[in-house]
Amino acid sequence: MNVSSSSRQSLGTLLPKIVVAPTFVVTLVFIYGFMLWNAWLSFSSSRMLPKYDWAGFIQYEKLFANDRWWVAAQNLLVFGGLFIVICLLVGLFLAIFLDQKIRAEGAIRTIYLYPMALSFIVTGTVWKWILNPELGIQRMVREMGFESFSFDWLVNADMAIYTVVLAGVWQSSGFVMALCLAGLRGVDENVVKAARVDGASMPLIYRRIIIPGLGPVFFSALIVLTHIAIKSFDLIVALTGGGPGYATDVPATFMYTYSFTRGQIGLGSAASMMMLMAVVAIIVPYLYSELRERKQ
């Protein structure tokens, strides 16, 4: 009896592990395994197809000597930073506005949210038209009589990356809005009352009390936005094609171009390793602190 009961017990404690085991294995193999695989390639001399030899750090040396790589890295910083910050701000403000007992809130919320339903390919294509000086906004405004109006970011090598930010924000800020709205709806209304009695005005209450309390919301949003920023590949391809020139290249497009169209898989792998390391360096400490704090 004792024996059978203890074996039953062990099945009981094993079962949950068995249930997550597939995911665990999948994560290990298909994420971390592939990362390692990629790391190996970055030390190989692979060109057209993967080759499993040892070439030392030569790919990294090539990478660091490559101007285009540095443009791409810088673009990711600019794009990622602006995209995330602006999405958070826009999403937050839209949520705050919608939280003011707006009529037809449901419809407006859907309008803000629907871009999330479109693929970046579609988003990129449409924005490419709208932002094109000869087709879109600039032409329209000029035809309305403002001849000197100029809005040519898309075709301006210095500004093109901001159009990517614009389209990205258009697509993703609605999601942040939904998250923030959810967060705002969860705020203890007594806290707001307390602050009003303390003499605070609504803007002050938002600034000092409600928004600082949305930490977990921003955390969730940040995870999703980072994920989207890294996957912005499609958007850039469709919107600017990395251009003008390679002015809007980002590491993802860089890596893709070198690995797949230019037959320099080793170099592409080195680029993606750098990208992964950057992501890990930023996200892991944050994740760690957040998860630990949650646990308490």
Binding site: G12, T13, L15, V19, V20, P22, T23, F24, V26, T27, I31, Y32, G33, F34, N38, F97, Q100, I102, I108, R109, T110, I111, Y112, L113, Y114, A117, L118, S119, I121, V122, T123, T125, V126, G136, M140, E143, W170, A178, L179, A182, G183, G186, P216, V217, S220, I223, I230, K231, F233, D234, P251, M255, S259, I265, S272, M275, L276, I283, L291, K295
Partner: protein, 281 residues
């Protein structure tokens, strides 16, 4: 209405116009003929309601050697999306359930690993995945593609469910355990029935992600099993030939219709589901 209300309403409406603009352009363009597109501006209204481009995109446009439009590919996508969404949601739910209600040593670490997994750029895994699929004998099959979508959707579905389940009191599980229920019974009878809000979130998210996926679709599917995004891409990307923008736009809208519909119909539940728990880190 006070001044501040007026201000809020105008900002809200202005934002709405900004968000609607691209959809408006797409719609207008799809309703024009090529001549109008060449001569007019993006925002000008079409001269009449002309659905030729739509019927062409749906039924007769060429994507490769077949000129049957998008309709076949539409169903391909459905065949891929439905199982992938269902399976990844179920697995995510189970993972979330274990990670919150049946914790074990290292379960938090596992979750952290999974979260980092969401950050991996998909371009990186294209070749290793191809190799693995070939190894498994799934290369170029629909099941292979479904598997890929499930694998890379798991991190997010798990995240959603974990954050939701963390707000469900453990006492509920304990009560059921004492009532004699085991792991599965508790999951199916107690936990799953109260997961509707987060299931909606997970399904909408996964549906959108998988339906809109192009990269995996193009690389891991073959021939007439390709999803609609690949067909859209083939239709839109004439490398050397005449571009029919109206057909392109109609096709783009057709490709986006299911996800749009999902957001319009279930958007309310989406926000509600997020409120119900996805927000809590």
């Amino acid at each position: 209405m006070s001044l501040s209300r007026v201000l809020i309403y105008s900002l809200v409406l202005l934002a709405a116009v900004f968000y609607l603009l691209p959809l408006f352009v797409m719609l207008m363009t799809s309703l024009k003929d090529l001549e109008e597109i060449r001569s007019g501006t993006l925002l000008s209204l079409p001269q009449g309601l002309n659905f030729d481009a739509w019927s062409k995109a749906w039924g007769t446009a060429c994507t490769g050697v077949d000129c049957n439009g998008m309709k076949g590919f539409f169903w391909n996508s459905v065949l891929i999306v439905v199982p992938a969404v269902i399976i990844s949601t179920i697995l995510g739910a189970l993972n979330g359930y274990v990670l919150t209600k049946w914790r074990f040593r290292g379960s938090n670490l596992f979750f952290g690993m999974l979260l980092i997994g969401t950050m991996i750029p998909f371009q990186v895994i294209l070749l290793p995945m191809a190799r693995t699929l070939g190894f498994l004998g799934l290369a170029g099959t629909t099941s292979g593609l479904i598997m890929v979508h499930i694998i890379y959707g798991l991190a997010f579905t798990t995240l959603f469910f974990r954050n939701y389940y963390i707000s469900i009191p453990n006492e509920l599980v304990n009560a059921a355990r004492i009532d004699g229920a085991g792991f599965w019974l508790i999951f199916f009878r107690i936990v799953l029935p109260i997961s509707v809000p987060i299931v909606v979130v997970s399904v909408i998210w996964q549906f959108t992600q998988i339906w809109n996926d192009f990269l995996f679709g193009v690389v891991y599917s073959s021939g007439d099993a390709q999803p609609i995004t690949v067909a859209l891409n083939n239709l839109v990307n004439t490398s050397m030939g005449v571009k029919e923008y109206n057909v392109d736009m109609a096709a783009a809208i057709i490709a986006a219709l299911p996800t749009l519909l999902v957001y319009i119909v279930a958007g309310k539940y989406f926000v509600r589901g997020l409120t119900a728990g996805a927000v809590k880190g």
